[in-house]
Amino acid sequence: MTLLAALLRRDLILAARQGGGAGTALGFFLAVLVLLPIGIGPDQATLQRLAPGILWITLLLSVLLSADRIFQQDFEDGSLEVMAMAPPSLELVALTKAVAHWLSTSLPLSIAAPFLGILLNLRTEVIWPLALAMILGSFALSLLASIGASLTLNIRRGGLLISILVLPLYVPILVFGMSATTGNPEMINPSLLILAAITLASFVLAPIAAAAALRAYLK
């Protein structure tokens, strides 16, 4: 556990110092949310209807944008080989790196998103259910992104391939994330519970898939 805490701490320090992945994602997120109302036009009713969907899709794409960095640097500089030989299993290493990606990129975005929704005339009663659903769903987004990142490990500019591989897996999160935040949602609703189930399943399965792909690349 302390071994993995060291890895988590290092990845968060790196994310804070390099800025790269998280910064790009945040910049993209803000750019889309600022530009969309201008592109769609000032009709407040239309914006209000589209707001949750726009926020979810922008969140998905922003997470994907930074996904290729989850393992790539560690693979290129040989750190991943050292980690693969260390006592913690590669599954736990993959999980820890996905958690670091969530904490440094997806979580800040999903906390900010509902409030940036004000730019889209988001209904105020949706803000809290949306925040909760996004915080839950964004963890699954990072976990699934780690599968894509591990499969495209030695592909330069693998971003497009990651999108093609991972976007189908994001569809259930989008569907239940949306239905948890449309209408007059209560904080805890059935869609949110299904979203939580998807996140829990990803938590267990994604590190196994990612570690298998990493092992294949390290051979």
Binding site: A5, L7, R10, Q18, E81, V82, K219
Partner: protein, 198 residues
């Protein structure tokens, strides 16, 4: 401790890199791997590191911790330096110390004369200094088996002497070293294995 390989063969991408290799290495012994480029020196080290599986034959380790693979009891210094340029030298080593299960940071810094550079970001280091940082892992976390892939590449004369001293003291303490190299290491090898050309 006895590390031995029996009838070992390695295949990469459908091509047999080497086959039928046998050796055994006891405590305090150095095995020097030589051979042309592409003869399979790095592939053999990766097999010993448990990073890949041999296509034929087996590797066994006697006298080590029973619940760990040979890779988990080994240091593998490959071509990559496994260091992050946004962190300082000390931060990189602290991470590896914590992740690999504890060691002596001060000893590692002084063993490769990195103490004056401890607070420098790795981005500012030269290639040779980064190499020393990679090698400092050896002195940082105790591991019985050292797998070194051309460890002296890029090192100046003084640093090579530090590496020789480090390897000698590891052998004296009963450790095992397998080193792939094109140039003499400066440490007397107990066994030699020449790959290729059979």
């Amino acid at each position: 401790m006895l590390l031995s390989a029996e009838n070992l063969a390695c295949e990469r991408g459908g091509r047999t890199v080497f086959s039928n290799q046998n050796f055994s290495l006891g405590s305090g012994e150095l095995l020097q791997l030589t051979g042309a480029n592409g003869a399979g020196k790095s592939s053999l080290l990766r097999l010993l590191a448990s990073l890949s599986e041999p296509s034929h034959g087996k590797i066994s380790l006697e006298g080590g911790a029973a619940d760990l693979t040979s890779g988990q009891q080994a240091h593998y210094i490959a071509h990559g330096d496994a260091s992050k340029s946004a962190l300082t030298v000390a931060e990189n080593l602290k991470f590896w110390r914590d992740f690999l299960g504890g060691g002596d940071l001060e000893a590692a810094l002084s063993a490769l004369n990195l103490a004056p550079l401890a607070d420098y970001p790795v981005a500012l280091l030269s290639a040779g200094q980064k190499r020393r940082l990679a090698l400092a892992r050896l002195a940082l976390v105790p591991r019985a088996i050292w797998l070194l892939d051309e460890p002296s590449v890029g090192l100046d004369e003084a640093s090579q002497k530090l590496l020789v001293a480090l390897m000698s003291s590891h052998l004296k303490a009963g450790g095992l070293i397998v080193a792939a190299t094109h140039v003499p290491l400066g440490v007397k090898s107990d066994r030699n294995l020449h790959l290729g050309g059979q």
